[in-house]
């Protein structure tokens, strides 16, 4: 029976209660160590100087932008194929986190661009692809919120997440292609020679830290969403139980 399908997703609750402290502790540890290493210990770049430290915020944010989108697409598939209510909630909960990471990537990219390229915004292929990914996130969130019926919003945005998932590689390809057409290698590539271990470790620590932070934020948001839906179900149940006056 799934009358109050949001009233008792107890399995999720138990699982998340077990994961939560570990994820939160790990996130704090990784981000603390990673930031300390990145901002204080790691050497400045011989070309870019101190501004290279933006990389430790920027690059993992770009990873997360894609990683969260992949999760969104998986949640979308689960919403449409299995009609799993938890997947509906998860998609809704994860999208703003992914959009925030994407925005962080764009903002730090812009900040990094100023000393590197001498301009706040460069139509660099990667930055442009991330910008379009950000637009897709915005469309997802707008669509998710555009209906009075939460399930309809979740299913519609799930379709969009999947359409976006098959389109994003094509968009990435076409933007790369467009960029090489218009800007013959004037932009310095960020992936230069092999990265030195003293820079690699803080970068990886930040990446793991971001991932755990994402897990923590997603769990909190899913819980909040479940409580909100349960509240609605309870109010509805109480009103239905009362004799019609």
């Amino acid at each position: 029976m799934n009358w109050h399908r949001f009233a008792s997703p107890s399995n999720f609750k138990r699982l998340s209660a077990r994961i939560f402290p570990w994820a939160a502790g790990g996130a704090a540890l990784c981000l603390g160590c990673g930031l300390y290493q990145a901002l204080l210990v790691s050497p400045p770049d011989y070309q870019q100087g101190q501004s290279v430290r933006i990389m430790y915020i920027h690059v993992p944010a770009a990873w997360m932008a894609m990683f969260v989108y992949a999760n969104l697409a998986l949640a979308g598939a689960a919403t449409l194929v299995w009609r799993h209510p938890l997947a509906e909630v998860a998609g809704r909960a994860m999208a703003p986190i992914g959009a925030a990471f994407t925005f962080l990537c764009l903002a730090t990219g812009s900040l990094w661009g100023k000393p590197m390229w001498g301009t706040w915004w460069e139509w660099d292929a990667r930055l442009t692809s991330v910008l379009i990914l950000f637009f897709v996130y915005l469309a997802y969130m707008a669509l998710n919120n555009a209906f009075d019926d939460a399930t309809r919003g979740a299913r519609a945005s799930a379709v969009l997440a999947l359409v976006g998932a098959v389109n994003l590689p094509i968009i990435k390809f076409s933007v790369d292609w467009w960029n090489t057409l218009h800007q013959p290698a004037s932009v310095m590539r960020l992936d230069g020679p092999a990265i030195h271990p003293s820079m690699l470790w803080p970068l990886l620590a930040m990446g793991v830290g971001y991932t755990l932070l994402f897990v923590v934020l997603a769990l909190v948001r899913i819980q909040a969403e479940l409580i909100e839906r349960r509240l609605g179900a309870l109010v509805q149940a109480r009103l239905s139980a009362e004799p019609a006056a």
Binding site: N2, F6, D148, T151, R229, Q236, S240, A244
Partner: protein, 210 residues
């Protein structure tokens, strides 16, 4: 179409917007049968009809045609079902005849019953009139004439007599009787008494009233 067709529901439940509209619903209609749905506003008559048409899925239980779950073969179910909802689904710029012949083609049928459909609802003289010039009752009659223009064994009618005058209601009753004669099944949500004492009545939302 003659034979042992049956349409039934087992332990059917409907969930709309997180609210249970009805549950533990049971009924059975056999070939030639008429099922009349009654109940207060919001009791779920329209939802049940939409569920029967395959537009919404049951939250629980199943609808069976000849014993087979309609969800197992939705294509076959759509082919045998003709749904006439609240809205007339008329395009103001198309004529009455164009609506009927489009509907027949949409349902993969030859457009050779248009004249009969027009005649059944006294629409013959309006055949070439665009829908924007029709009155409310005439619009409803066009919507009902679709049932004749593209025959299907199962008719699902949501408040079919809304906006109809006495003469048109009588024509609808004649059409329903003729359909049942050939072994068709009719499910109608209505507050009017249809001719035929053999109709099965299903009242929705009784639990709430008790």
């Amino acid at each position: 179409m003659i034979g042992r067709a049956s349409f039934e529901a087992h332990d059917l439940a409907c969930l709309r917007g997180g609210r249970i509209v009805f549950r533990q619903l049971e009924f059975r209609v056999d070939a030639g049968g008429l099922l009349v749905l009654r109940g207060a506003n919001g009791a779920g008559k329209s939802s049940l009809l939409r569920m029967m048409a395959g537009l919404i899925g049951p939250a629980h239980g199943a609808l069976l045609w000849n014993g087979d779950d309609i969800a197992d073969d939705p294509d076959a179910h759509r082919a045998r079902t003709s749904y006439a909802g609240h809205s007339d689904a008329l395009k103001p710029a198309l004529t009455v005849a164009e609506h009927l012949s489009f509907h027949a083609k949409l349902r993969g049928q030859a457009a050779d019953k248009i004249a009969a459909a027009l005649d059944a609802f006294a629409l013959t003289k309006f055949a070439d009139l665009p829908a924007r010039l029709l009155s409310q009752g005439q619009r409803k009659r066009v919507a009902l004439a679709r049932l004749i223009a593209a025959p299907a064994p199962l008719w699902l009618l949501d408040e079919p007599t809304n906006g109809l005058d006495a003469d048109s209601t009588a024509r609808l009753e004649t059409a329903i009787a003729a359909h049942r004669e050939t072994g068709g099944i009719v499910v109608a949500a209505t507050h009017l008494d249809f001719a035929g004492a053999d109709a099965v009545t299903l009242t929705l939302g009784e639990r709430k009233a008790a």
